[in-house]
């Protein structure tokens, strides 16, 4: 328990670092907020007035203090484009991003882990070669380009998937909100038509993300499975006559998954970034496309809010990965 508390405390420096960096970025972000508020015809005096009103003329430490206080209150500023508080916008859009990212991750793990295991268990087989090709090709895919290719093939040519217009097509209504995940909410509501609609919209962007995350997961699964299969305790398990099922699944796989779980931190770093690009391709109403729209409009507060949210999410994900690792590995609990 003490180790757990220490680990939780251990995330604090990362959070502090994130807040400092976003603060610094706030101060240098172009499209100076004061100038923007004052309008294009404003005089230098009125800009100075607005600066004073916003506290931008104070010394930096004081500004940082105010910034942190605002953050603690959940005040991320107002979006000039939507006219809403940034926090409200982000919270409304976060489930869309989360559902997409998690779906992508599940697809990637569902393919990459079995593939990596097969490649390692049957070294030199067709599976192994397939794994090698996927690993090399997978890291070369520009995720926005794969998304477009999938849209062209499955929407335009084959007509199997709906137009890439977001989470639901224009005629459907969103299910009542429980989790914000349409697939779950629609299932709770028993609204299977909406569920199918949401699923059809989700599948292409999720596959796009999945293809992107597949390569690193498959690579590390294969490598760690190979390492574990050569370990002495596997020889012991075989010498004890345990069934190959037990040897591979209970003895080898559980050990091999430890590095895979650790690698997920890196995978999430990639996934959260790729998410922005995929959201743009599929007009997915998540926080990534929100940030992109704000960028184009030189609307600073949403961009900062987005960066902060992503960074906090990432810190939390890393914390989760650590906790999962502790659950799986008794040695990690000890340390």
């Amino acid at each position: 328990m003490r180790g757990l508390a220490l680990r939780l405390l251990g995330s604090l420096p990362a959070l502090v670092a994130v807040v400092i960096v976003t603060f610094i970025l706030t101060r240098v972000l172009p499209g100076d907020t004061a100038t923007y508020f004052a309008g294009p015809t404003a005089s230098a005096e009125s800009i100075a007035q607005i600066k004073a009103a916003l506290g931008l003329d104070r010394p930096l430490p004081e500004q940082f203090w105010n910034y942190t206080k605002a953050l603690v209150r959940g005040d991320l500023g107002m979006s000039l484009t939507t006219g809403q508080p940034v926090l409200k916008d982000l919270l409304a859009r976060l489930p869309a991003s989360a559902e997409l990212t998690l779906a992508g991750l599940l697809i990637a793990m569902g393919i990459a882990i079995p593939l990596g295991i097969l490649a390692a268990v049957k070294q030199g087989s067709l599976w192994d070669h397939a794994c090698r090709i996927i690993v090399t090709a997978g890291v070369s895919l520009p995720v926005f380009f794969t998304g477009l290719l999938l849209v062209y093939v499955f929407y335009f040519l084959l007509g199997w998937s709906p137009a890439p217009v977001g989470r639901l097509d224009a005629f459907a209504t969103a299910p009542p909100t429980w989790t914000g995940f349409y697939l779950i909410d629609a299932a709770i509501a028993g609204d299977w038509e909406t569920w199918r609609g949401a699923f059809a919209q989700l599948i292409l962007p999720a596959v796009t993300l999945g293809l992107f995350a597949l390569a690193p997961i498959a690579r590390i699964t294969r490598a760690s499975m190979l390492a574990v299969l050569g370990a002495e305790f596997i020889r012991t398990a075989r010498a004890s006559g345990l069934s190959s099922r037990t040897v591979i699944l209970t003895y080898a796989l559980r050990n091999a998954l430890l590095p895979v779980v650790t690698t997920l931190g890196m995978v999430f770093s990639f996934l959260l970034g790729a998410n922005v690009l995929v959201e743009k391709v599929f007009a997915w109403p998540g926080i990534g496309s929100y940030a992109v729209e704000a960028l184009i409009a030189s609307d600073g507060a949403p961009v900062q809010g987005f960066v902060l949210t992503m960074a906090i999410l990432y810190v939390l994900l890393n914390l989760t990965i650590d906790l999962v690792n502790r659950a799986l590995d008794p040695r990690a609990r000890q340390a």
């Binding site: 010498a239 345990l242 190959s244």
Partner: protein, 320 residues
């Protein structure tokens, strides 16, 4: 009494990139119930390969090319993988050196013993857990109920080796193969571990094959010693006979290199030459010939094993 294990003309080859390695050539020995046979030799002499090959644990490159090995009347050389898997850990078990690495790092030792009991004794999960605690008690681990929940990294090397023994003997096998079981343990722990193995063997009539490079250990613990050199068993005799009256030149060198039989075969650098290249097509019939000072022209004839006294077998054209 019938032998637990009867190995005859047992040969094994490995395919490698640089050619076929004739790792074992016509190895033959027997082990009776309750008996401890030591397989002694330098590293690379084929001791461990013998054990792995018998239990069907060779990797894909290795292949049994001839001979027979009967374990309690079952022919191992032609047995299916399923049969071998059912025998391993049940009738013939094995323990290894470096016990901490030989145990699954993220599974409690109780579960690891329980896995064997569930597989071979058909126990339920609960019965297996209880059986695991019993086994830990049997190998002398204090507070076994609590220790069953421990992970290998929480136990000392000696404790881990006891757990290994518990795993191996959980199903009361007829044969225990111990591959350098005391390597890496400190001296007092070595003695304790060997005592536990000896006691369990005496209690259950289990036969033991002790694989070691430590002649002193073999002399102390084994009733019979088979000396291996380059994939051949060159001499096989009761321990007292072998120590007092070694006949094969290699055995004599071994003993000379470890004068009181209390040394370690690590000192064997004093034996001139090294193991021959087992990939060579023109390998001499006697693989010790190149290092031997008693070599005769007759040594180029095919190698034969003969009993020069009752229960004393050697492979030499010019025994001392």
């Amino acid at each position: 009494m019938t032998n637990v294990l009867d190995v005859r003309d047992f040969s094994v080859e490995f395919r490698t990139r640089s050619g076929i390695v004739k790792a074992l050539d016509r190895v033959a020995f027997t082990v009776a119930p309750g008996e401890t046979l030591a397989l002694v030799g330098e590293s690379g002499s084929g001791k461990s390969v013998t054990a792995y090959a018998l239990l069907g644990l060779l990797d894909d490159a290795g292949r049994i090319t001839g001979g027979s090995a009967m374990l309690e009347g079952v022919e191992l050389t032609t047995a299916s993988p399923a049969t071998l898997s059912a025998i391993r850990g049940k009738r013939a078990a094995m323990i290894f050196q470096n016990p901490r690495a030989a145990l699954n790092p993220i599974r409690s030792v109780g579960q690891q013993i329980g896995d064997v009991l569930r597989r071979h004794a058909g126990l339920s999960a609960r019965a297996a857990a209880a059986g695991a605690v019993e086994m830990l008690r049997a190998v002398g681990i204090p507070d076994p109920a609590r220790r069953a929940a421990a992970y290998p990294f929480e136990l000392s090397g000696g404790m881990c080796q006891r757990v290994m023994i518990a795993i191996a003997v959980a199903t009361r096998p007829a044969l225990l193969i111990a591959d350098e079981p005391t390597t890496g343990l400190d001296v007092t722990t070595q003695a304790v571990v060997m005592d536990i193995m000896g006691r369990l063997a005496a209690e259950t009539g289990m036969a033991t094959i002790l694989i070691t490079h430590d002649l002193a250990l073999a002399a102390e613990r084994a009733g019979r010693i088979a000396v291996m050199h380059a994939g051949h068993i060159v001499e096989d005799a009761a321990t007292a006979t072998l120590l007092a009256n070694p006949r094969h030149p290699y055995t004599r060198r071994l003993l000379a290199a470890t004068p009181t039989a209390a040394g370690d075969l690590g000192d064997l650098r004093s034996i001139p030459g090294s193991l021959p290249d087992l990939r060579r097509a023109d390998l001499a019939p006697c693989r010790f010939a190149a290092r031997c000072d008693r070599r005769l022209p007759a040594c180029d004839q095919p190698l034969v094993w003969r009993d020069i006294a009752p229960h004393h077998r050697i492979a030499c054209g010019n025994p001392a």
